[in-house]
Amino acid sequence: MTGTTPTRLALALAGLIAALAPGASAQEPPKPRQIVVNVAGGDTLAATRRIFFAEYEKRYGIRVVDSSPTNFAKLRAMVESGNIEWTVTEIGGEDAVRGQRMNLFEPIDRTVVPMDELPSPARDRKVTLARGVYSTVLAYRKDAFKPGAYPTGWKDFWDVKGFPGPRSMRNRAIDNLEFALIADGVPVDKLYPLDVDRAFKKLDEIKPHVAVWWSTGQQPAQLLIDREVVMTTGWNGRFYKMQREEAGVDVAWPGAMVKVGTFGVVKGTANAYWGQKLLAVFLEPKLQAAYAEAVGYPGTNPKGWEFIDKAAFKYFPTSPDNLPYVGWTNDEWWADNGAAVEERFSRWLLAR
C-alpha cells in the first residue's frame, strides 16, 4: 500500500520529534538572568529595544541589558582578555569580516537561527547574522535648489556649478571612493575591485568644496539643519524622519551604497545559546518590518516587505522601488584593502 508511506513517514517523524523534543529542552543550557547586547546607539537602540528585545524578554524571560555604541577595538580587547561582557554585539560589515578572521565570534547555530529564509549571500554567512541593511546616501536641503531641479546622484554632487554650495563627506575612504567612481561614470555593479587611483583623482575635484569631513553619524543631518552645507553623505536612517515628515531634506537614492548590519555571538561568552536565540528573533519578518518603519533600516528577510505599505517603499534603500539603483559595499574588498586605503585617504586629507 503505497498510499500509507507518507503517513507512516509523518508518524515516524512525529515520533522522532516527540522523542527528541524533551531531550532537546533538557539539553538547553540554564537560562541566565540577563544577557548584555551591544548595539549602535541612538534611535536604532531605542527601536531595537522596543521591537526585538521586548519580544525576546517576553518569550524567554531573560532580561536584555544593552550597551552602546559598537566598538570593534573593545570587542577585540574583550575576547583577547577573556573578560567577556557582551553576549551579542552589533558589528559593521567589513568589521564583521575582520572579526571572523580574528576569530572573535561563535559560529551561528543554524538549528536555532533559521538562516535559510534569507536570500544569498546573507544566507551563506557563517559567524555573523545579517539582520538588516543600512545605506550611505546623498542627502540635500531642498530649499538650496530650484523646485524639481534636485540632485539625483553623485554626478550632481560633483557638479559644483549646477548645484552650488558647500558639501560634507565622511572623513574616511569607505563609500567616498565608491561615490567618486560612480561620479566618474562607473556603474554601481562594476565597482569592485575599486580603481583606487581613479577614485582619488576624482576626489581631488570635490575636495575644495567639502566644508566638513564628518566623523560621527549625527553630524550630517545637523550640518544640513544648520545650513552649514547644502548636500552631504550620511547614513539613510539619519535622514529618514526628516524625509517622512517632509522636513525640507530629501535623499537621492541612485548610487547609494548599501551594507549589511550584522550581529555576532561573542566568542567565549557563557550564554552563547541564548545569544543564538536572540539572533533567531532578529530574523522574524514582522519585527524586521516594524524596525524598518521605525528607523528606516530594512531587514534582510524578504517576507518583511509584506508588512510594509507600498507607498512607503520609496523611503527604504532595498525596497523593490530602490533596489535596482543602489550598490552593495563589498566587505571582503574593504577587509583586505581597508587599512592601506584608509591611510592613503588620511594622507590625502592632510595634503594641501
Binding site: 577595538a73 558647500p166 566638513v212 569631513w213 552649514e228 586629507l349
Partner: protein
Amino acid sequence: MSISLPADEPPRAGIAARLGGGAGPFVLGLPALVFLLLLFVGPVLRLLVLSVEGGDLAAYEKAVTDGLYLTVFWETFRIAAIVTAASIVLGYPVAYWLTTVSRTTAAIGFACILVPLMTSVLVRTYAWMVILGRNGIINRALRDWGLIDAPLPLLHNLPSVVIGMTHVLLPMFILPVYSVMVRVDRELLRAADGLGASGGQIFARVYFPLTWPGVLAGGTLVFIVALGFYITPALLGGGRIIMIANVIENQVQTLLDWRFASALSMVLLLATLAIQAASSRVQAPRG
C-alpha cells in the same frame, strides 16, 4: 607630570612628622603614589610594551620618519604654541586685573573663570559652533546689518579651533599667574617708581620678571594640555584640522593598529616630558 608652582605656604613638615612618625611624608604620599602607579604608570608601561611588540622598533621608525605623521606632529605643536600665545596675551592682563580689584569683584571674576572650567568641553565646543556657524549668531548679525552678502567662513578652520581651545584652556593659565602676582611685593614697584623708572620700565624690568615663574608654569600647562586635545579640533576643525590625538584615535578605532597607536602615544609623551624638562630649566629674564 608636575608643574612647579611656587609653594603658597611654608612646608608644614611638623604635622606630617607627628601624623606618621619618621616616615610621615612618605606615608602621607602613599595613596597618591599608589593611585598614580596603578592608573598612570601601569597603563603607560603597557603602552610601551605594546609599541615594541614583535621585538623591533618599526612602529617608532614609522612614527618619526613618515611625512604624514611628522606633518601632524608639527601641526599639533604649532596649534599648541598658538593657543599658548593667545592664552598669555588674553590671560596675563586678566590675572593682573584680579590682583587690583576688591575682594568681592575678584570673587565674581574668579567665578566667571571657574564656572566655564567646570563645564563640559563638549558643551563649550558646541557653543562655539552655534556662534561661528554659517548660519550662526555672528554671521546672521552681520547679514542683518547689511555688512555681508554671503556668510563668512568662521567655522571649520584653524582660527575656530584656536578660539575653541583657548577658551577651554585660558583658566589654566590665569590661575597659576594670579597666584604668583598676588605675592609680588608692591613696595618694589613703588621703589622703582620713586627711583624714576617709567611705567613701561617698571613693568619690563621689575613686574614681569617677578611674575615670570607664573607665566612659565601656566604657559607650560596650557601647551602640554593643548598637545593632547581631541574633541575640539575634531568638531571645530571640520575634519580638516588634524591633531595627533585624532590620528591616534583613528589608529585605535578604525585601523586597529594598536602597536602604531602606542608608538605615536609614546612619542607624544616623550615630547611632553622634554618640554616639561626644558621649561623647568628656563631662567627668568633678567631685569
